[in-house]
Symmetry: C2
Subunit: 278 residues, 2 copies
């Protein structure tokens, strides 16, 4: 296939690197940053820059930029995309993006499906991108009534070739609701956690739990602000739930109540056992 | 040296395994669980059980059980400990333990210093113990006016032999204040985080951030209840701080305020950069 990768940050850059390292597909890359484009060419992560001339030849278009920019890019380029092509956006929220892109795709006759690769790291940008980022990860897709099975089979083969463990299907609202908890809330908690003045004092007093708790505080505030604002309903509900459960601990500690503390911790242990994720 | 290891759980078991794997010292082990003692002998983590007969011959006594049990054990065995011996407790809180043990040691003439190895994992018990748990970790010690330099040199050589990266000195109150943030709050947050009903629904929607955020929710509720109750003052203050910072995010989200959200995230990123821990 000829594949356009729009945006060569951590997600798009890792797509490009994985495609070139693991398949025989051709990659045309686009990025606003010229240096990134040069690096991507030099390290073999793409075959050539994406242009007005080769975009119409692409069989697959992966859009790996922020939601607003993704909607804008597709709006601007829809008439250059072949009717036989499949477009997949890789944005971290799905309702706002799918609502905007599905009608554009329908109007122009190309296939569209929302996507979200469940992989990431605390460092962003092309230099952090790797050809093994997606190994063992799940690829979320949001098919709708227009999606045909042949397209899903094509995408399944493609994403498994990149190292993904499998596809997970969802609708945009379910995706956004779950991701508010599994990813967005984790980033907010990490950022809030590290703000204790204690974090700036002595080192040598921490082990794995502090490192894990604060790892993703190192985030791109522009991207995450946009993702959070596209998901405020689900995200504020999850924040309320977390604050409620923290407050239960605070009350049990202030009451010096061992039975209640033990019950709260046991409940968490049992819920972790059935929640998975190690 | 002849070394007594009292308690062969994750911490004491890893001490015994590290000593036998990395040094020529003799280990006498004690544990309430007979099966653990048998396992420890069979896998070479100790030379013999600790007895009333060999305790007086020990040069170093490591007490790796919960605070209340540690105080009770030392109270019961103080008259069997040689005046030339060094006793180090490995409890996760230091004020309550040091206040109880320092006078007993002074009265009986043996040296005592509080300790806390900065290493752990979400699984406990002897079977989770390993001979590399302490590799690269820092060993916190709480020396006082009675502590002599020769003793610290002996302990430094000993702990470096086990793989520790170095010693960190503190007083019990500073230790408890910092640990409330770097370790105890992380365990509470992890436990609170996983209690969202969302955690029990579909899988396939999570990557590293969810795993890291909830890893230590798998904890021993009896041990942590005791550790938390010995540190309620510092711990409730840290919980208040975290809830405050989470509430700031909640307010900015509800106001749909991109500038405030960006500022809150930037502040977290900058504080993470100077806080260390990856």
């Amino acid at each position: 296939m000829r594949i356009a990768v729009v945006g060569l940050g951590l997600i798009g850059g890792s797509m490009a690197k994985s495609i070139k390292a693991r398949t025989a597909h051709t990659v045309y890359g686009a990025d606003l940053d010229r240096e990134t484009l040069t690096m991507a060419r030099m390290c073999g992560a793409m075959d050539a820059p994406l242009t007005e001339e080769n975009l119409p030849q692409c069989d697959l278009v992966l859009v790996a930029i922020c939601p607003g920019a993704a909607i804008q890019w597709v709006t601007d380029h829809a008439d250059k995309i072949a009717k036989s092509a499949i477009l997949v956006d890789l944005c971290g929220v799905k309702r706002v993006v799918v609502e905007a892109l599905a009608p554009i795709a329908a109007a122009h006759g190309f296939a569209y499906i929302g996507g979200h690769p469940m992989a990431g790291k605390e460092r962003g940008g092309f230099t952090a991108a790797t050809d093994d980022l997606y190994e063992g990860a799940s690829m979320i897709l949001t098919p709708d009534k227009r999606t045909d099975m042949q397209l899903l089979e094509t995408l399944k083969d493609f994403f498994l070739d990149l190292g993904f463990a499998g596809l997970t299907f969802s609708d945009p609202a379910e995706h956004d609701r779950i991701i508010a908890f599994t990813s967005q809330l984790a980033h907010i908690t990490s950022s809030a956690y590290v703000k204790s003045p204690e974090a700036q004092k002595r080192r040598g007093f921490s082990a794995g739990s502090f490192r894990d708790m604060t790892r993703v505080a190192r985030l791109d505030e522009n991207m995450w602000t946009e993702l959070f604002l596209d998901n405020t309903d689900y995200l504020t509900a999850e924040l309320d739930t977390l604050i409620h459960h923290l407050t239960e601990f605070s009350q049990a500690l202030r009451a010096r109540d061992p039975e209640q503390l033990r019950a709260l911790l046991r409940q968490g242990r049992e819920m972790k056992a059935t929640a998975g994720g190690n």
